[in-house]
Amino acid sequence: MAGDRDIGGAQATHASLDAESAEWLRTLGGTGAEREAALERLHAILLRVAGNEVRRRAPRLRLSGPELDDVAHQAAADALLAVTAKLDQFRGESRFTTWAYKFAVLEVSAKLGRHFWRDPGVPLEGEDWERLPDRFGFDPAERSEWRDLLAALRRAVDEELTERQRRIFDAIVLKGVPGDALAVELGTNRNAIYKAMFDARRKLRAALVAQGFLDIGIRGRS
């Protein structure tokens, strides 16, 4: 994976802060009643963002109303802790509130990842290659056309991937385990899971291109 050459260029100094962001920094970095009031106000904002985010994702979750509220409250509380602990890391590249919202959204993601294992809703034992045609939208009526492709993919998974890559491919692609939930299960983070899948995807595509199943001319970037 690459480094984005524009990432460093996005940094700004606090001198360019908008007035509202500067006020947040001043009050949260202060003391006494003014700081307490700012913390209370920020918590209310983060709770609203976390609640909206949980409700936005709710149709795809196996959680009830009270559980959703619990996730939102926990996410808001942890986001507030993260924001206050990292206050000196706010570089002023965005509005302060946008930066703070990010912590609420990421905390919701992390908490839902942990929740997945309470009721996965998918069988986690064994491999499930049968669901792959449906996963990628292959037409059952054209089975004779894609059967060899998926057989080649299965061979490539067995022969080209490392044991860890196979385990991650199996969980995400064959069982539909969300990446964040898998990261919790494997005691790692989203980035490590993504990197393993990135390398696996590249190997698998190269194997299928070498066997003539995919045309390198269609997508020549891999």
Partner: protein, 75 residues
Amino acid sequence: MNGWDELDRFLSTDPRDVGCEKAMDLLHVYVELAARDPEAARRRHPGITAHLRACGPCQEDFEGLLAAVSDAIDY
């Protein structure tokens, strides 16, 4: 899009992809730009754009933060 295209799209990797960590580090900056001018966000941060296209969890977080920023505009 048929199954062949979908599988090809899934297996294709973009060398500009910056990965989850870097994308999340600048997500707040990217989101503000995307809310104002999506094309400018894609031009200025091609590595983040490439990553969001391929990473479901990060795309989900992007959509959540974009919704939060859009909601805030209405307040």
